[in-house]
Symmetry: D2
Subunit: 338 residues, 4 copies
């Protein structure tokens, strides 16, 4: 029985603790949060967990095998590093850290101590993304030409994190899982429309080493909520629309091309479309099972620290490109240096 | 009665000739096309028009007052310049020319000869865009923060024109009409997925002088056809979805903001939504009426040569930025130099 | 402080108990359920409530002021009648009873004892229906010509209740609230496609006394989930689409009519459309507040026993018409007789 | 070369004549219309056709082999009967006649003279309906449980034809083609909301001999245009949405059923969905080819006079049921008697 400690019981922590409590071979052994009301709520839902205000007490608790870090991003490094040094396995909420250097240091520490370091890239564990990954593995999609995502809505203007770190992080995590070709360069543009607010709208293009192109459109100030990703392949094309209650994933054959002699151009038509039935299993539960499986077997998590580091590098490079009005940032050097 | 000559009776020319033939104070006096079958079709539908294969004969026809150029873009300059020099008023299909220098030369020639030079930016004459322009003029939208357009579909891979010149040209024309702040710089990224084809997917960000941001997503290889533009303003937000048969334009109030103390962020909600009934008048007819009105009164067309030139400059700068992986191209110098 | 007893802690009871627990001037004093695991769950969420297996013990509890009946429909009458006779106020889940006679007996008993008798017609308390009722009261819709609802999905084939009692009951409750003209007759058709199952598809037409027409399409075997109601009025038309996350209610002006002389017919066009922002308040909480308000003030609930009786009469008449292949059932006699 | 005469050049006649003119082995030999301007238009588009105002002249023209009747419904019988008696093959616009007796007389006359009698049930020739028919033939759908169609919009209030004869006729024609089990009885309800107008809203249920159920919702006064048909089968379910530009036909697997022990009910889930690519061939051209093929080979048309008669019987019975508030009309006797 693996005993899990959860640090942070604010917005996301309760979901993680609830999912962890549903595991067969693990239990929530401790919960830490600075807020007394948050600890009260935690105690009512997890009566057998010990409750502490200072996360250092949780990390020092020898009865705890693994620590889940669900705190604001600027605290991830200190908590995760301390937990690793205390010999715990660690799962960190995304983004893994606020700089590539800190993320790389966590990866190194985990490797040195042979502990599991996993990042909470939840979308990777959704039935939709898993179905798409399965199609790619089966060769149904062919070579991937592009990944084009729109992730916009009206809502939260965060103060300490811009829209790239808030929303694009999801797509970077999905791309890291789906696209086998690594990112070579990134060009990003952004704008902040409200005073004293970070950027609330951004557009990012990622150049992949094999010529594929990814593009992300993220915006906190859209009148409609859109969560739509197009994936274009040499054999088929995919639409992943997370706002649909059914038919979240649609796969399109490309019909025979027709030559239009008069206008000197090639014309493509759509072929059949297919929408696979998706599992209704909760992504967070799948993710927690992966964490426990890796702790038990020493396997490398699907969303390991290396992947978390790659995502942080993309976030960091994107932010730098926005300040240069889209000037491309090469990613190769970064990869080598870290 | 203004006598109009139409050069080019291929894909778009028949539509223009048909619209011109519906005008009360104008008639189609001549049609030129290299193709004999095309001239045959033209003759059956416009029995009173003279038919010529060489456009030079049409331009030399003293009975013709105005020339509409509906030929491939690389021929626009020669035909339009000859027509202006022959003292005709000219309407050129978009894009106006394949280089800013040629477009500027046409503008200068028209000014020197005091002839109408108009560009066929058809979308500007649609009821949807006219309704949006009306709301902006009435102050309903407030300051425009962003224009974000998705114009993608599966279909024509043209050989001589890339997706920017084929699709983004529509948005540049609409932006030129709706956004009062001029473009200051552009960053564009693109990719070509098929051999021997020009770029078929591109993303363009335009920085406006007042801080507004425009973004265009154009793609010939999308499994779905999307024609959707979001316009974010300080007072209201607009969605213009040209694929809808009704409710093409929706206007959203922004609801009261709510402070979320726990998460330190500002939260916006949507207010009421309103979709104005739109006229069903054909854009092309409105455009032809504008052409004739300007010829008769000497007024400046809504889509004049200057606007056509600005659009060509944007197309040209976008293409250059794509070759530099998104490096921003400043537009100010271009404006001064031309 | 009003002390509420909840009978039935299966599918719907927990929601009702949770909503009741959020009231300021009421509390959940007792919960009854035959199932020991259900009582366990109830105890964890409502630690201060007394827990009993036999509802008779709850009804006999003198500390309880009001009883909410959330049990299978065939038990509603016995429990509600006993509670009324014990001097409790009563809220009954819909449908109020399985026969008009039993529903009428409950109405009579409540009147005799001057107790509140309310029916859980939850949809009446949704922000969408309350917004529509507000528009009707303001005269925005004009005379209502028709109410046309589609309520279909794939899913539950219940064994003891057919699709009319399961789904059409919602529309009857909404119609009872929105349409001022009473039902005069009903014609209903239905079919059962699976062996040993009740009818899973039905179509019902209600003739109103003033000439308005209501129609309901209910189906447990549709590949898509639809929850869409059209309301046609002499001034405006409304679409209420409960599957939309935003814009659940849209109101359409009717444009000017055009006479089509050639085809001898009148042509209508759509005018502007308007979608009001809706409150996000939970319907169940509004309903519980109404229950408590009526207990405290003696006011008549928005969804009182009389309304519950009218709905049961419609359900009963609809079922009879289906057995006669749509032969109309007059409702006037029923109203008088009961 | 078959020479076709077209009677009626108003709304639909020009489309039929244009389609007929595209046939390889037929030509438009004559056109009749009372209106001189209509004949003018006809002459410009069909310069080799003879033009007459009186249809009797066209029917008497010995150079004409086949007559297409595209006139108001009340004139169908006289023209079609005269054409048959003159030895012509006949294609009649839908509905075939305004009474079952007249329709039956045409069927008898055609049989007696061994001429082709075909009815213009255009939808039967659409790629969507042909694809659905193909799936049914292949056994993909299984036994058909129901056909449920919504055909509503805002628009034409015709003066001489009610909404059943205007819109439901399309569904009756489609049902006659897709459903192998004949109609046994019909129950229909309707209302007229405008003075001096025929019924503009109706709901029709058709009982089939094998227990299947069809339902039609037709309305001229809906704020939205809907053209959606659900077909429920024992193996799969189909949605046919004619308003979609792509994915008009979707086929759904039914997932494994789940038993919900607590609530005593059976639960179905959706399985995979599949949308076949459809041909873009025009239905009217396919229909004209069928007419000519049958004339040349003596084959029975897909939409023959018998089918036209069955549709008229349904229209007639539906109208009678509406006057009895939905009382069911048995169709068996009608079938025998005619």
């Amino acid at each position: 029985m693996i005993r899990i400690g959860v640090v942070g019981y604010g917005y996301w922590g309760p979901n993680i603790a609830r999912a962890a409590s549903e595991l067969e071979n693990a239990q929530v052994g401790a919960i830490a949060d600075l807020s007394a009301p948050a600890l009260d709520r935690a105690g009512r839902r997890h009566p057998s967990a010990s409750l502490v205000q200072d996360w250092r007490d949780l990390v020092a608790d020898t009865a705890i095998d693994a620590v889940i870090v669900a705190t604001p991003v600027e605290t991830h490094f200190d908590i995760a590093m301390a937990a690793l040094k205390a010999g715990k396995h660690v799962l960190v909420e995304k983004p893994m850290a606020e700089t590539p250097a800190k993320a790389a240091a966590l990866v190194d520490e985990a490797a040195r101590r042979q502990k599991i370091l996993m990042v909470d890239h939840t979308f990777v564990y959704t039935p939709a993304i898993q179905a798409i990954r399965g199609m790619i593995d089966a060769g149904d999609i062919g070579d991937i030409y592009y990944y084009d995502s729109t992730r916009i809505n009206l809502g939260l203007f965060q103060r300490d994190v811009n829209v790239i770190w808030d929303l694009a992080v999801h797509d970077f995590a999905i791309m890291d899982h789906l696209l086998d070709s690594k990112a070579a360069a990134i060009s990003a543009t952004a704008a902040a429309f409200l005073p004293n607010s970070p950027e609330n709208m951004a557009h990012l293009t990622v150049y992949h080493e094999n010529g594929a192109l990814s593009h992300l459109n993220v915006n906190w100030m859209s009148p409609v909520k859109i969560r739509q990703t197009l994936i274009g392949g040499s054999r088929r094309m995919v639409i992943y629309d997370d706002m649909q209650t059914s038919e979240k994933v649609k796969v399109y054959d490309r019909g025979a091309s027709m030559e239009d002699a008069y206008e000197r151009r090639v014309n493509y038509r759509l072929g059949d479309m297919w929408a696979p039935a998706l599992s209704s299993k909760e992504a967070l539960l799948t993710e927690m099972q992966e964490f426990v499986r890796c702790i038990e077997t020493g396997a490398r998590p699907l969303t390991d620290g290396e992947g978390g580091l790659r995502v942080v590098k993309l976030l960091d490079a994107a932010s730098r490109s926005t300040r240069l009005r889209g000037q491309p940032i090469e990613l190769f050097a970064l990869r080598e240096a870290s």
